[in-house]
Symmetry: C2
Subunit: 729 residues, 2 copies
């Protein structure tokens, strides 16, 4: 496979059962409406099967928090060969290759298999979630007998047995079903359908399939609806069947069944090949905008495509009431919850290349302002205080406790209470979106309100330290989550200043351009003169912690009084430092999960200080950073590139790419690290290429490419116009 | 790690116990005198530890054939941390990385480990087999405590427990020791030694170590000689110890102990760092000649270096009585036996880049002429008939039977009887060496005799078919080993013609340049007028099988009467086709292990036919070729490149590279596929670059580079002068 092709593919060959969890996740397919993990059609012991749909959250009574309800696997197949089931843990695998074609969003697998009884067959499976019509899923299966098979029995069904979720109960994790009122239908011998309703939230989800290519009849099975055929095969004889599936939810339509029938009918009329052609064309159009071409570095080329692929398949193309969870739609981790990972890591690539998607993601936050206002109110504040973890309601859904350990001990999770910087992160994303897209309509109608109402929250939140004559924030968690409930995290405090400055910029722009809108917002959000005066005062007197002995920003109050740990000795390291040292010892140390200051260098750049100041901070914080968060390394790559530390930037970038591609943290089984992938994309564009808005208007680049990159080409939209840049090193 | 660096490294990260067999092999280090598999210093369950020395064959009484006697692991370490042994299958691995630096021939490993009792320590191991002095091995170990350790106990010893081999007994494989009269010495508290003698062949091997960096004393253990230290460590305290080892055999010296003492003494005087510097310098000099630089294709760049690395570490720099076994010195497969793999696959890269090594390898065959003559005589022939499998005696050492299967059934192995083309393969390698190097001294003294005496063998071997008025060969095995005991394998028959033509060229050159040498050889080898007349007749009348319906060469008599199998349906495939179909069905089919004809296209090129003829043959044979041999794909790459089928050539090359790098055949645990690596090197130079001797004198290139290769640069020696070629695509 030539580099041009192999940088578009993930390939798994030969079969390696110990890698399956990793592969199940990274080979996930999706279309921004749903994601399906790459579990096998026929199943495998201990697999983590998941098909997750945006927005279908449900709070199971046994669980601490809502979860994305896992839908039955739509691609399931039960095959028996002369009475023996085809499964890779039985019989003998004579050959195996699985491939994810990232260019076209198609997952395929070829298996040469010998049954325990000695019959050799060749299987090929191909499936995709149509990017051209998000309600259509398609699968093609080819089975070739190499020995005579008396009875090949195939059932193409919906695997309802996999539609389970893990609930965090006080007793530990248990498997639960989020479904009730399931109904099964067999409209025709070659059709079958399943519908279910989520137990608490009451969403209905329906899937309806039509199969073709053999003499199908409905299955008798009552809980796994599907269609079956039986056939005898002579040596070298082949059977090819296709399955087209319509999928929709009560979020899409009130008339679920007719909608599904219509969608499926259109798909059947087109047929598998046409659907595939349209699907590939839709992907081609996306890559036209999003692909970053890097000559001279195969690994980075492939990893860049992987990062973009994982973002694309999780990004809602048409839905402004959902957002991308921390683990995208690729696994059970974090239960589909949305964190700052979206706005600061995953969203900016779309702001640049697919502004419609970025707008959807921001609109999700706009629609959830009521939840944010409720949170502020519940905690005794004004304005809008976004939840640390967000689902469909916009309410705070961070669990309060970890799962119990083997001794039954649970740890209190404070992020939902104290990781308050997320409100400014969202404001930052809104501002960035507006500046790049020039989407005034969005800004006026939605964005300004988000920036301002979260600014009102800060007005009510900051604390005046009369003795020191400054504003402060106590009981906080910054990006460095190894230190909880600390005071004055430098990132949060500094972003509050940035936020309020931009609240004024927002107000001033509105006053100039749409005074009545300014007036209306001031009125509804209660942005009184007193509020504005205090904003000014906060901007002037917000405490930005400094540590004078080193002349650097201080991570938070008292950080440098903590124990020093020589992190260089804790290498190589897969296990996170807080696990190695334990919670308490980590908290008492200068070991940080990810550096607040490096995050600030990436986001604020020159605003934060001159080169010497930033370099001083870099040199202090990098040796103290354990990269315990998958968000950390890509930001380091970005910041290092801006500081001109190209080799360091490169190492951080490659390390960040390894999180998913090489499973270097060992936790990819739970899902893709969405923020790491968004960070990789940003590190390329904002870090290495140095793309930024020009103060004088327009944009500029300031490339810091590794010497061995022959060229880097990327596109983005500036105020609706597509720009394409080629940089040579 | 930037491409420039990562194409020089193999990296294993994180720890994956299911990959250990693969890694143990591909991370092997060596210096052409010995090879040491990359098993862990501290051992691991079920590991295949092996340190193999060229030439130290022994025929164990329980075994069918001689084997390379496995020497005690010289790098073994037993570490206990407050009484708990450091082993990766115990405690907890917090981090792990293993790296083979192919540029410098250094293996290193870093482990962050927590003992079952909770103590965290960091270990780094580094070892190399000196390329500057083949009798010196070196190791450095660094242990850093991250928690307080009361007693760190370390024993640096020779692991005599790993010095076992697998014997092929009638009852199945058993572990046996090839050693007797083992002696253990402790010359000083920081020194220890082991010597042993092989049970049948009587070789003595000695290893002597000196350790430093701690307060060492001799171990008490009677069967694992070594040196021990104990130390207490505070957190962040480190201990660094080095071990220098002298190794030699009775093949090197009669005075083994003084020799070892002198070698070790010199090494100790230099110290670890100087030894490492000299070692790296020796590697640099080799790469100066052997590295093929390919811009625009990282995978090929890395795989090319891997292929060369594996050849280099197994190639005898100073010993003309040993050769490279099929699995090099990297594992137990084929017991170190030497096949045609050496002369046609592994040797030509050295002919071009390290002619001294090529000469050593050919001299091994020269010194073994007596064995070849004995084989000819035993089988009723004249001249020299090289054994199919060769060890130190030059006698045939192919086992007659396979190991019994689970039912106790054994299959007769016929290759030792019938795979007779090896004598011509050796003649081909001699001729090629002479033509490229112009080493007349070798040719006159040794090479000519090898070509001529094997030609005498063919004189006595070919069979006259009076009815058809042609010479034939019956009961043969060609490169396609799926068909045994067939008649007229086209490769063998055609190579006999080539061989006899070059026997005449040899004679004629000698007659012109050294008539008395020609006379002497004719006399001693009995090359009478009658012999020469028959040679001429064979050249004219040797039957080269053709299949007229397709107008192609015929693999062997009656090949196209056999059953056709659609190999395209047996994909993807890891298991070999003869295993899938079974021995008998394979034999009855047109499925070939590797194509005789493609091998001929690679070796003979235009001599074999015009482009149309070769293309016709290619199109017939490639679909019938199952690549059941690791030798096959690289030859296909070479031939395809010469036919202008660059994309096909590329795919074959990458597939051949995957055999070791990706373990695509699943058998790397038994050792490196030496021939595949030699073939990869040749496919680059002779295939893609099209290097060949010019009939008018000198050399020429005829590049067929993949379009995405920016450039290819390589060096070689032509008649003693270094040539460097850069090709651009």
């Amino acid at each position: 496979m030539r580099p041009e092709i192999r940088t578009w593919k993930l390939t798994e060959k030969p079969f390696n059962p110990t890698h399956l969890f990793h592969s199940e996740t990274i080979f996930t397919i999706g279309n921004g409406y749903l994601g399906s993990r790459a579990t096998f059609e026929e199943g495998y012991p201990d697999e983590i099967a998941a098909t997750l749909l945006h927005g279908i959250f449900n709070h199971h009574e046994q669980d601490l928090v809502p979860d994305l309800a896992n839908v039955p696997a739509w691609f399931a197949v039960q095959i028996t060969v002369d009475g023996e089931p085809f499964r890779l843990n039985e019989g003998r695998i004579l050959g195996y290759v699985r491939e994810l074609d990232m260019k076209n969003g198609i997952l395929s697998r070829q298996v040469l298999w010998q049954s325990p009884g000695g019959k050799i067959l060749r299987f090929t499976f191909e499936r995709f979630a149509s990017m051209a019509d998000q309600h259509i899923l398609a699968q093609q299966i080819e089975i070739t007998a190499l020995d005579e098979v008396q009875v090949l029995d195939c059932v193409l069904d919906f695997n309802t047995e996999t539609a389970l979720n893990i609930a965090y109960t006080a007793e530990g994790p248990v498997l639960v079903s989020h479904w009730k009122n399931a109904s099964i239908t067999y409209p025709a011998p070659d059709q079958s359908g399943w519908q279910g309703e989520t137990t608490q939230s009451g969403y209905r989800v329906g899937i309806l399939q039509q199969v073709s290519g053999a003499d199908f009849r409905a299955t008798e099975s009552s809980n796994r609806p599907g269609n079956r055929f039986q056939v005898s095969l002579k040596p070298e004889q082949r059977v090819t069947v296709t399955r087209l599936v319509g999928i929709a939810t009560s979020r899409d339509t009130k008339a679920l069944s007719p909608f599904l029938e219509e969608k499926l009918g259109q798909a059947v009329e087109k047929g598998y090949n046409t659907l595939k052609t349209e699907h590939c064309a839709a992907w081609a159009a996306i890559w036209e905008d999003m692909d970053i071409l890097i000559e001279g570095d195969e690994y980075v080329q492939k990893a860049a495509r992987f990062a973009a692929y994982q973002l694309i398949i999780a990004a809602p193309q048409k839905d402004e009431r959902v957002s991308i969870g921390a683990k995208t739609l690729s696994g059970p981790g974090y239960k589909g919850h949305v964190f700052w990972d979206t706005e600061l890591f995953m969203l900016p690539p779309f702001t640049l290349t697919q502004p419609g998607i970025a707008r959807n993601l921001l609109m999700y936050r706009y629609h959830n302002l009521p939840g944010a206002r409720k949170k502020a109110k519940d905690e005794g504040f004004l304005g809008a205080m976004y939840p640390w973890e967000s689902t469909d309601t916009g309410e705070e859904t961070t669990p309060k406790w970890t799962l119990p350990d083997k001794h039954g001990n649970r740890i209190r999770i404070w992020t939902g209470d104290h990781e308050q910087h997320i409100s400014s992160d969202i404001a930052y994303a809104v501002w960035q979106y507006w500046k790049w897209t020039g989407d005034n309509e969005f800004f006026v109608k939605h964005g300004a309100e988000m920036i301002l109402d979260t600014a009102v929250f800060w007005y009510s939140r900051v604390e005046w330290n009369a003795k020191k004559q400054r504003y402060e924030l106590s009981e906080q968690i910054g990006p460095d989550e190894y230190h909880e409930n600390i005071n004055n995290p430098v990132y949060t405090n500094r972003m509050v200043v940035w936020h309020l400055q931009h609240a004024f910029k927002t107000l001033n722009w509105l006053r100039t351009n749409l005074p009545e809108k300014a007036q209306a917002l001031q009125s509804t959000l209660h942005i009184t003169d007193e509020v504005q005066a205090k904003w000014q005062d906060i901007i002037a007197k917000m405490y930005i912690p400094r540590y004078e002995p080193l002349n650097v920003y201080e991570q938070f109050d008292g950080f440098f009084d903590k124990d020093e740990v020589n992190l260089a000795l804790y290498t190589p390291r897969v296990t996170a430092m807080d696990v190695i040292l334990g919670h308490q010892r980590t908290n008492a140390s200068q070991v940080i999960k990810q550096a607040d200051v490096v995050m600030m260098i990436a986001l604020l750049g020159d605003e934060l200080g001159d080169h010497e100041e930033l370099m001083r901070n870099w040199r202090v914080y990098v040796p103290r950073t354990a990269h315990g968060s998958s968000l950390s390394q890509a930001m380091h790559a970005w910041a290092a590139a801006r500081l001109g530390l190209v080799e360091e930037a490169y190492e951080h970038w490659v390390d960040a790419a390894g999180i998913d591609l090489e499973d270097t943290k060992g936790n990819v089984r739970d899902g893709i690290h969405g923020a790491a992938n968004g960070g990789l994309y940003q590190a390329l564009i904002f870090g290495f290429a140095g793309l930024q808005l020009d103060e004088k208007g327009g944009w500029k680049v300031d490339p810091r490419l590794p010497a061995w990159w022959k060229s880097m080409t990327f596109s983005f939209y500036y105020r609706g116009e597509k720009q394409t840049v080629t940089l040579k090193s």
